[in-house]
Symmetry: D3
Subunit: 62 residues, 6 copies
């Protein structure tokens, strides 16, 4: 029943998400020894004006 | 002060959300014995390309 | 597949959690029209030194 | 490496978010004694139909 | 900068967590095409009395 | 009603948390223009075996 949430910036293609969901699920299932069917993956996409590092919004970063 | 977050796929109507917020708040308030005024509910809606089970994105599921 | 996370202060009994899980699941299932089997509930308990309102930790509140 | 998530209703300007990211990062860095570079801030904006207090959606509040 | 949070029940060994962190990071880095250094993994472990499916706490499941 | 969650490694003193809750609340209140009373802060502390960067658990980092 692991629930995996991935927070990342917007801009990935559907194919990248598809690949990520598949590979992350396999990685969790293999390392933690649980059936793939029990793994859920949630993708949370952020706008560049909603993420900051070192106090600077990503949309302001040069 | 319970804070309840509900993550679910997009597609519910406003009336369904309204009902859910009301009923979940009552359920928490009753079972945990706190005033309804202290319960907050956050709804997080996901696109079908942002949720996967068994490594398969919901938008790819047949 | 709704995933419900409840954040609240420590101190509830097992019986209160049991009741809450049951009632919240029914409330979500009924209002959003999904099978009870698809609803997951996660309880996140906080110490009173890990929650603040108005800038004051709960453990400091008189 | 503190990761700060701020959940709030939609409607703030870019300038307000910019200021918030800056000030929150400084507050965390100062009080917890870590470099500003290690602080990340994620802003999660909610629609008024996705937040409820006392069982009432914000969009229904008069 | 993907931030990956894995919520799962307590009981995994340190070696399982170590393997999971490594493999999940590689899976995200590869599929989303970002440096491994930018991937963070947070593990959130739950007690069996803090997780429910179908309204039944895991600790009550036979 | 901003809800601020701070995820960080264990090891901060009560005084550091107290200071952080106070300063973060003021920072959010000031920048986003909302009453301090409406700001909530949740602190989520992680063990060093539950956080990884670049695929390496913090407890394994030299």
């Amino acid at each position: 029943m692991p629930i995996v949430t991935v927070e990342m910036l917007k801009g990935r293609t559907l194919e990248q998400k598809r690949q990520m969901a598949k590979e992350v699920t396999e990685a969790v299932s293999r390392s933690v020894n649980c059936p793939k069917e029990s793994v859920k993956v949630i993708i949370n996409e952020m706008d560049t004006e909603n993420f900051a590092e070192a106090g600077v919004l990503r949309c302001d970063k040069k």
